[in-house]
């Protein structure tokens, strides 16, 4: 029998691993996720603070991207997924039956590993979401697009060719354009799934500096395989292993004095 595409919410269980910090914007409460019979996330609870960069780290298959995708219900698009527990953003359960998923994804934007600009001009890439959300006046669009391109540190490089194809940009520029596109509609949260893993060191450094600039305005959750990157850009780090949250805390602590042996072994490169 086919499983429903809509995740089922079941009553919250006692979390196996709990990590709480002050004034959370995002509260992940006893989340478990199954792909069919396979349990990909096991009873995960943690709170993510507002205007803070949180890094999810862990070996491949540990569930970090799966959890990231739970934060804007991207997993709804996958067959046979069942999610137990709750995720609250600003105190509201995003898995409640009355939640408008389109509206949720406006509040929680996403940047993917591979830059994916629309096959349109640089201008239109940023304008697209704005028009979709009702901004029609050209002067307003021009102003907002410039703001977003400046905020994503791309303006100086593209201001003279805004109507050229976005596909002509370098990989790093395309990724910054995707960030500009994501922030155009003023989300509260930006999810980033290995946003710099396909970029060269210079482009990576620019994305990292951009993330640190953006956290003044946005709450950022980033999945990365690069632990030095996590150390450079994040305030909080969560380490996952085989679907479990092993440790969550200040990045400086995780990378200098982790509490759990599994974290120590992973950040020291002993496995993963």
């Amino acid at each position: 029998m086919a499983e429903t595409l809509i995740p089922k919410i079941v009553p919250q269980k006692t979390p196996a691993a709990t990590a709480k910090v002050g004034s959370p914007l995002i509260e992940i409460e006893a989340i478990s996720l199954h792909y069919g019979a396979s349990r990909a996330l096991k009873d995960i609870s943690l709170n993510l603070e507002e205007k803070v960069v949180t890094a999810f780290i862990g070996p491949s298959g540990c569930g970090k991207s799966t959890l990231l995708r739970c934060l804007n219900r991207m997993n709804d698009l996958i067959d046979n997924v069942r999610i137990d527990g709750a995720i609250k953003i600003g105190g509201h359960n995003i898995y409640a039956s009355d939640v408008d998923v389109i509206e949720l994804r406006k509040r929680v934007g996403m940047v993917f590993q591979k830059s994916n600009p629309f096959p349109k001009s640089i201008y239109e890439n940023v304008a697209y979401g704005l028009r979709l959300h009702g901004m029609k006046v050209k002067a307003d669009l021009d102003l907002r697009i410039e703001e977003c391109l400046r905020a994503s540190a791309l303006w100086d490089e593209v201001k003279d060719r805004l109507h050229s194809s976005a596909l002509g940009l370098s990989g790093g520029q395309q990724q910054r354009l995707c960030i500009a596109r994501a922030i155009a509609i003023k989300p509260e949260v930006i999810l980033m799934d290995e946003p710099a893993s396909a970029l060269d060191p210079i482009a990576t450094a620019r994305i990292e500096d951009l993330i640190l600039d953006l956290k003044k305005e946005f709450t950022i959750v980033i999945v990365t395989h690069n632990m030095q990157q996590a150390a450079r850009i994040s305030d909080q780090t969560a380490f996952f292993y085989i679907g479990e949250l092993v440790e969550f805390g200040a990045t400086s602590k995780i990378f200098t004095n982790p509490a759990q042996k599994r974290t120590e072994d992973y950040v020291s490169g002993r496995f993963g």
Partner: protein
């Protein structure tokens, strides 16, 4: 867009400069307290040393944090050198405290009637320290290399002062306790020059990526083709 990592590196450099300025002041005050028999000034050196100790802890904390971010090349050398220089500065602060303590005790007793060239020795040790720190600030390995051989001059002065004081104690046993204070103070100045030499060697490593410790090539310039 800000370069956040470079901001961290600059922050580390600034903290080291603040620590260096406290250290220089501590040594200057200690020497002045000793040579001018200034009891109050000797007491104030301890306060300066407490600040220096705090600086060392802060610099190490920041350096460890920066190391987790995987600095490379010059930045990697700067972070490791900063940790070493801060340790040398902390030790210099300790030596300044020792001198100040001896200065404080000596003010309670009559002066020793012996002409010592301690002022010249102190001037040279301080000059070495200042030059080493300036070389760090200006990233000037040539200036750093120039002061390294001067450590031997300080060693020779210390030996000379030590011998003079030993002879004085033999001839005037009633001055033994006072002469021992001077011996300890001279030894501390000699140690300060050693630490200044370490800092100079670290500056060469920072600028040229060449470790000149224990190599006998301290005066040669980097031999990059």
């Amino acid at each position: 867009m800000e370069n956040h990592f470079e901001i961290g590196i600059e922050n580390l450099r600034q903290k080291l400069l603040v620590m260096a300025s406290h250290t220089e002041k501590a040594v200057n005050d200690a020497v002045q307290a000793l040579t001018q028999r200034d009891h109050d000034l000797a007491l104030r050196v301890k306060e300066e040393d407490d600040v220096i100790d705090k600086c060392e802890v802060e610099i190490d904390d920041l350096a460890i944090l920066l190391l987790t971010k995987a600095p490379l090349a010059t930045n990697l050398r700067l972070v490791t050198v900063a940790m070493k220089i801060s340790q040398d500065l902390e030790r210099i602060g300790d030596e300044a405290s020792k001198i100040a303590k001896r200065a404080r005790d000596l003010t309670q007793e009559p002066p020793v009637k012996l002409t010592l060239d301690l002022t010249r020795m102190a001037r040279l040790a301080l000059e070495m320290l200042k030059t080493a720190l300036d070389a760090f600030v200006n990233r000037d390995p040539a200036a750093a290399r120039l002061i390294i051989p001067r450590d031997k001059e300080v060693d020779a002065m210390n030996k000379q002062i030590h011998n003079a004081l030993v002879q004085h104690m033999v001839d005037n046993p009633d001055t033994i306790s006072r002469c021992l204070h001077w011996i300890v103070a001279a030894k501390s100045l000699e140690r300060i020059a050693d630490h200044a030499t370490n800092i100079a060697e670290d500056v060469v490593y920072l600028c040229e990526a060449q470790d000149i410790r224990h190599t006998g090539i301290k005066n040669s310039a980097a031999s990059n083709p």
